[in-house]
Structure formats: C-alpha cells, structure tokens
C-alpha cells in the first residue's frame, strides 16, 4: 500500500481529529479576531462607521442592536463576504482585508451560520456536511463521513443523515448548517440571526445546540434578538447602533445598567415584553 505522502502523515497522527491541518498558534492573551477602524459603505450609505473590537479565544460575544445597525455587515466582513471599505480585520493574525491574503484559507477557520440556513438543497444532510472537508481540505470520504456523523449526532440529527434539506424542519436544517460549519474545524463561529427565520417552537433546539458549543469552549460571535440566550450564554454583550459599537460589557451589566441612552431606549423597548 503506497499512499500519498498526505495519506501517510494522516495515518501517523492517530489520536487527534484528523483534519487539524493549520491550526494556528495563538499566544495567550492574543485576540482571535481583531477589528481595527472598520468602515463599510454601500453606495452612499455608511453601514459601519469605525468598529474596533477584539474577540478573545473561547469568548461568546453576543451582538444586539436595532435592525440596520450594521451587526450582520460586521459579521460578514469578518469572513470577507463583504469587503471592508476601510480598516483592518485580523483573524488569527491574518489580515482579511489585505488583497494578498488567501481568503479561502481564512474562511476555513471561520465558520458561519446564516439566517436562511443556506443548506445545499441538492445534497443530503450528511453530504452537506462532508462536501467542504472533502473538496477543500482533501479529507478522505470515509474520514469525512465518520466526522460528519459525529457532528450530526452532536446536533441531534444522526438519524436524518440521509434526508434532503427539503424534508427537514427549519430547526433541523439550521442544526445541519451548524454541523456543516463545524465540519471545517473552525476556530471561531459566526452566527447571523440564526433563529430569526424559525417558527417560535423551533428556536430552542437551535439555541440549545449553540449553548452546547459555547460550553465546549468554541469562540462565537452571535448576532441575535434572543435576549435570553445573550444573558445566559454570552460572555460579553455588544450593543450596536447606526454602524458603531455603543456599548460593550458583561451581559448582565449591560442589561441591568445600560450606560448609553440609545442602549437604554433599545432595552426598554425589548425588555418591556419579557
């Protein structure tokens, strides 16, 4: 059996998950994601007006704010789905905004889950999960399948592995989408209003999955309107409005004692319903 050199090296590293390839060393105390003076314009509309943010490893950062405040845009800038107009974004020390940096390599390290799931409808749940590891990382099909089953089991959908997205509920689709993002072994996960498109009774299954991830120590940036989740799971709460970070602190602190009048107004509007 003469395998390729890559195959051989994989056989040697038996214990650790086999697709750990270029896990970058992060020095203690160094942020995983650093955003410096980020501006983003859509035509004449300035969606982001100078964001500065450092996200430490294993931190769960919850981003809230009124719609149109730039939360999603900021998230999409982190993995380069939107190009920054000005400013810099570093993910594990690599500059996302730099023309020379390999965005695809950076994106392997940044998982993203979308409001509209965006599962690949022509592929079964498990194929959705294995596609990127096989095609992007060159993982063998058996290895990818094994890992995918593990992940689907983790999100509680092992028995739905062979179902097509059209036959899954919204909550199930979103959990498959989470498994799909996890399959690339990301160092940070971005969640863009992932429960907003779900029927109310399906929200909790997705939030529970996310809570599980947070407990395991995944670094997460979560844009959401679920204040309960923010309070319970978030390590840090960021309130954004009109393209700037207005408030940034411990969730409990920001909820109970918002400093800025805009934050106070926002919370008074939302929390009055709870």
């Amino acid at each position: 059996m003469l395998g390729t050199s890559r195959g051989d090296s994989r056989e040697e590293t038996d214990t650790s998950p086999k697709y750990e390839t270029i896990k970058m060393e992060i020095k203690p105390g160094e942020p995983l994601v650093r955003i410096e003076g980020l501006h983003k314009k859509f035509g004449d509309f300035e969606a982001l007006k100078g964001i500065n943010l450092e996200i430490m490893p294993q931190q769960v950062v919850v981003v809230v704010g009124p719609s149109g405040s730039g939360k999603s845009t900021m998230l999409r800038c982190i993995n380069g789905l939107e190009q920054a107009t000005r400013g810099k974004i570093f993910v594990e020390g690599l500059d996302v905004t730099h023309r020379a940096s390999d965005l695809n390599k950076i994106r392997e390290k940044v998982g993203m889950v979308f409001q509209s799931f965006n599962l690949f409808p022509h592929l079964t749940a498990i194929k959705n999960v294995t596609l990127a590891p096989i095609k992007v990382k060159g993982v063998s099909a058996e290895e990818a399948n094994r890992k995918a089953l593990e992940l689907l089991d983790k999100v509680g959908l092992a028995e739905k592995a062979d179902a097509f997205p059209a036959h899954l509920s919204g909550g199930q689709q979103q959990r498959v989408a989470i498994a799909r993002a996890l399959a690339m072994d990301p160092d940070v996960m971005l969640f863009d209003e992932v429960t907003s498109a779900l029927d109310p009774e399906l929200v909790s299954e997705v939030l529970d999955t996310m809570k599980g991830l947070a407990v395991e120590g995944m670094t997460m940036v979560v844009v959401t309107h679920e204040m309960g989740f923010a309070r319970e799971v978030g390590d840090r709460l960021i309130f954004m409005d009109e393209g700037v970070v207005v408030e940034d602190g411990e969730p409990e602190e920001v909820f109970n004692n918002p400093q800025h009048p805009r934050t106070q107004e926002f919370f008074s509007k939302i929390l009055s319903h709870i």
Partner: protein
C-alpha cells in the same frame, strides 16, 4: 316459506313486484338503432336518436322507466350514422384517396426509399448528437464568461450572443461553411455542419445556462464560499448541480429543436435525411420519401418530448 310470503302479498302488490312500466319510445329507439346498423342505414339511425330523445323526456316527466334502453338506442343510432358517413366518405373519396396514397404512401417507393432515408437519418442523428455535446460544453463556458468578474469577457460573450441570436440560422450556416473554406480551413461537410450548429446553438444555450445559474439564491454561494471553497469549487459543487437540474427541460427542448434544424445542413450538401429524401422525391416522382423523413423525425422527437415532460414532472417533485 317464501311462496307463502308471496301469497300473503298477492292481494296487495308491493312496488318491487310490480311490473316495470317501460316506455314504448325507448323500446322503439332500441329497435330502430339495431335496424339502423343493419337494414335501414341512415333512416334507422335518425329515428333511433329521435325516439331516444322522446323516451328520455317521457321518463323524466312521468313515471315511465327504461332510461338505459333509450341510452342504448341512442348510442346505436349515433354509431350507425357515423359508420354510414364513413362508408359514404370512402365511396366518394375512393378516387382521390388512391391518388393520395400513391403520392404519400407509395408502397414501391416505401420499400426502396425509406431504408435509404433511414440510413441518412442516422447521419442526421449523428450531427445532432455530436453538435449537442459541443454545444453543451461551449454554452456552459460562454455562460460562465458571460457572468465573469472580468468586463472584457462579459462584453465579448454578450456581443457574440446578441449577434448570433439576431441572425437566421440558415444564413449563419452558409457564412460559416463558406467562410471557413475561404479561410482555407478544409472542413468536411459533417465538421462544418457541427461547427455551424455549435456556434449558433451555443449562444442560446449559454443564455439558458446563465438564467439557471442566476436563479440560484446567492446564499448558496455565500454558504459555500464561507466554508472555504473557491469560486470555481462553489460553482462546480454547489451552483451548477442545482442550476443544471433546473435548466434540463429548456435544454432538452433546445435539443429537439437542434435535431430538427439539423435538416438545414442539407443546404451545404451534407447527405442527411432531408437531402437524401429530397433527392429520392425527384427520382420516384412522389412525396413518399419525405413522408418517411418526417416519420423518422417524429420517431425521435415525440419520445424526446415525452421524456422532457417526464423530466419536468420528476424535477418538480424533487423540489
């Protein structure tokens, strides 16, 4: 015991033992219908229908029965009238019909000319299939360039598509065939036919591919790119498989049209079914060879259309 029961009821007949009061008109209608089919052609049929109408009215407004009989009479009447009309038509048209058969379905010509056009039709199919493969590949490449990031590619392909779509196919076939030979490229007629059809049809199919690609939600590209796929990987594994599924019905229709348009390469002298049939028509002095060509085309195009319909249904279910 049952006899006893019957006797008990004898004095006072219960409705179910009553003799049915069947309409005489219905009986007459049935008899006329039978006569109409046998001894009294037209007259019997007409009377059967008329009697049946009367019987049905009577049954509707009184307590007469026999609706089934009336219906049977009426049906027989109609059948006998239709048969009579057909027989009449046959006698009247026998002379012209003979001429028609001699011209369109001449048995002697069929025996010799249809195998000949059948073989030529294989060439037609060969041109169509080879062209289709070239068209699919070219069309997809053109479509990808049409939506490319690079403006130059977008412009070139847009101009190509618009020029081709704005010209008659027959003109393009002539220009390409004779243009190639003036350029000193010695293509066989077959190759020239394939090149012409490819150049023409690729423009149309490129637009179909583009529509398919653009119909895929941009979230699909975002999801695949955010997993680290390159643009081409995202196209190949995520967008195109979905886009192509969606455009299979229009593409299949294009293929049917292409098969038919293959006949146009007869004009640059390729011996395909139409040309061979046309020549045979001259030789045999009747149109039977071309009828054969038509039948061969239908033999392929009708099942192909059924196949497209089947595909459409299956795809609709899949979504």
């Amino acid at each position: 015991m049952s006899e006893e029961a019957l006797e008990l009821r004898d004095g006072e007949p219960v409705s179910e033992f009553e003799e049915k009061n069947i309409s005489g008109w219905a009986k007459a209608s049935l008899i006329m219908g039978i006569l109409g089919l046998t001894f009294l052609p037209i007259v019997g049929g007409v009377l059967a229908i008329v009697f049946a109408r009367i019987a049905k009215k009577q049954i509707l407004h009184t307590d007469f029965e026999g609706d089934g009989l009336a219906t049977a009479g009426q049906t027989l009447g109609i059948v006998s009238l239709v048969l009579a009309a057909l027989v009449l038509f046959y006698f009247l048209m026998q002379h012209k019909l003979k001429d028609f058969v001699a011209d369109f379905f001449n048995w002697d010509t069929i025996k010799t000319a249809w195998p000949e056009v059948g073989r030529a039709f294989l060439t037609t199919l060969e041109v169509a299939l080879v062209s289709e493969v070239c068209i699919l590949i070219t069309g997809l490449i053109v479509a990808m360039l049409r939506i490319s990031r690079f403006r130059t590619f977008r412009w070139i392909t847009a101009i190509y598509i618009d020029i081709i779509r704005g010209l008659p196919l027959i003109l393009l076939i002539f220009i390409i065939y004779f243009g190639l030979s003036y350029l000193g490229l010695n293509f066989t007629r077959f190759q020239a036919g394939v090149v012409s059809l490819t150049v023409c049809y690729a423009a149309y199919e490129a637009e179909i591919f583009r529509a398919g690609i653009e119909s895929i939600h941009k979230g699909q590209v975002e999801a695949s790119r955010s997993l680290g796929m390159t643009y081409l990987q995202s196209m190949r594994y995520v967008v195109l498989p979905q886009a192509i599924r969606r455009v299979i019905p229009p593409l299949s229709n294009e293929f049917i049209m292409l098969t038919k348009d293959t006949a146009l390469v007869a004009f640059i002298g390729l011996s395909e079914a139409f040309l061979v049939g046309k020549e045979a028509m001259g030789r045999y002095a009747n149109v039977t060879p071309l009828v054969g060509v038509a039948l061969f085309f239908l033999l392929v195009t009708i099942p192909a259309m059924q196949g497209v319909r089947y595909l459409e249904r299956r795809l609709a279910r899949g979504d």
